[in-house]
Amino acid sequence: MRLLALYAAAAYLFLYLPLAVLAIFSFNDSRFSEWTGFSWRWYRALAADPRLIPCTLNSLLIGLSATVLATAAGTLAAYGLWKRRHPWLAASLYLSLLSPEIVTGVSLLALYQWMFRYLDLRLGLHTVILAHVSFCVPYVVIVVMSRLKTMDPALEEAALDLGATEWRAFWQVTLPQLWPGVAAAALLAFTISFDDFVITSLVAGVDSETLPMLIYSSARRGISPALNAISTVIVVLLSALILLSERLRES
């Protein structure tokens, strides 16, 4: 057991050390891997980057829109699936969850380009939002479903027996008990959307560069401590959202 504990410590170190080093060096005064002293200069450099604000705004806009739409559709679907099995929808959600991101991305790109032959539209924020909705829905369904499974169906059955329609039973009886699950699902959907690079980069237009796209293009160009700074900020914020989501799931 002692050996096992030692191993586990090493495993957690493996999981967290890269992120920790990244965060520590975002406060390094030098641009090299030599620690020369604490400094905020890379965070200041970050604030001066003209691309940062528009990319962040795009990411937020995409994330929030996709979260609202995916959470609404996913919650309703989880409820419907909870009431009655629907093997086709379940299989489709399962498949979309497991298909490689790159395949999802190129097939959405193929769909958009095919549609653009007939419509006067171009790739942009709307295509990114639709793509994000599509890959967030399965996660929302899973989270809401796990909440539904812990709930007592008797309350809703009572409402139905007393003559409530299914809509009314859903809105007035089930949803009020379900909201922590819905909130947890929304937070998770936002995190996944905010973080996505592979699908986004394929279906984004010239006006819809997101934060992960900015990070990717900087990472390809080379290392900069400013990149560490923005990464640290994102990791801290997303971790907070995930922890909040987990708390809600358990409540």
Partner: protein, 307 residues
């Protein structure tokens, strides 16, 4: 609800009665209506794109990179071209190696977590937390550590262990490391789940009968965990096989996988029909493996639909 009298004229009395009673819309379709938004999304944004990709995979590449007739099987035949078949096989090999390493590294961790009493939940959350927070940034973190002037080389040189930087980045090893780092949580989770469901009496019986701990583990615990091992392996193998970002950033173009090939066909090479055939081959391979493993382990491995 009879709104018309027998001879076809509106029946005032029945109509009034129904009107006063209908305060919430009564939906004949029942729960199906709740599924409507999700079904629409799945049809339009998952099924339709796949249908288009299937259609493209049988078309010919157009003169300016688009797609055009005639129908052909050429794109599928090209999958066997040694140039591409080698990348396909390499991807399978790298994904398999990453899966094996995840299993070797994840199993003791899962065992440790399942034995740590009240801290279980916290420890499991700590494994999952990095997984949810930015795959891109976690991959970038490894570039920061591994590059020639990175932190690891810097430390090794400083301690005088090496004189010139080791080439740690941009080869298969770095890609496998990135994959293991990225998908380890997918292995730990199902392993932990089966360990939790394990009937402790078998383990206790083996120990009572005098088996040393390693033997109990090897001959009792591990065989009982087989469904979890399979479930974890398939959950790691599938995303590794389709990986794009990890080989792109850590392989640096020298160690490419199928995902990169797909991306390349849809962007710079502009050969959409071949890219479509590659995507479908990747999907088909993942799906066949998934179905096979599900058949083999049944519901025990936690691979059942989460809904």
């Amino acid at each position: 609800m009879r709104l018309l009298s027998r001879d076809g004229a509106p029946d005032g009395r029945t109509w009034l009665k129904t009107k006063t009673r209908m305060r919430w819309p009564r939906l004949a379709a029942g729960p199906t209506v709740f599924l409507l938004p999700a079904v629409t999304i799945q049809l339009l944004l998952f099924a339709a794109p796949l249908v288009i990709v299937v259609a493209y995979s049988f078309l010919t590449r157009g003169p300016y990179g688009g797609t055009s007739l005639p129908f052909t099987l050429e794109n599928y035949a090209r999958l066997w071209d040694p140039l591409y078949a080698r990348i396909l096989l390499r991807s399978i090999a790298l994904a398999a190696l990453a899966t094996l390493l995840c299993l070797v590294l994840g199993l003791p961790l899962a065992v440790y977590i399942s034995r740590s009493g009240s801290r279980k939940g916290l420890l499991l959350q700590l494994v999952m937390l990095p997984f949810w927070t930015s795959f891109l940034i976690r991959t970038y973190a490894w570039i920061f550590l591994l590059r020639d002037t990175g932190w690891i080389n810097h430390l090794l040189i400083r301690w005088g262990w090496i004189s010139s930087p080791l080439p740690l980045l941009y080869h298969d090893g770095a890609v496998v490391l990135g994959l293991v780092y990225g998908y380890l949580p997918f292995m730990v989770l199902p392993l932990f789940a089966t360990l939790e469901r394990l009937d402790r009496r078998f383990v206790e019986a083996a120990a009572d009968l005098g088996a040393p701990p390693w033997r109990v583990f090897w001959e009792v615990t591990l065989p009982l965990c087989r469904p979890g091992v399979w479930a974890g392996s398939i959950l790691v193998f599938i995303p590794c096989l389709g990986a794009y970002l990890t080989p792109d950033l850590l392989g640096g173009g020298k160690s490419i996988m199928v995902g990169n090939l797909v991306q390349n066909q849809f962007t710079s090479a502009r050969d959409w029909p071949f890219g479509a055939a590659l995507s479908l081959a990747l999907m088909a391979l993942s799906l066949i493996l998934l179905v096979a493993v599900r058949r083999a382990v049944g519901r025990a491995g936690g691979l059942e639909d989460p809904w």
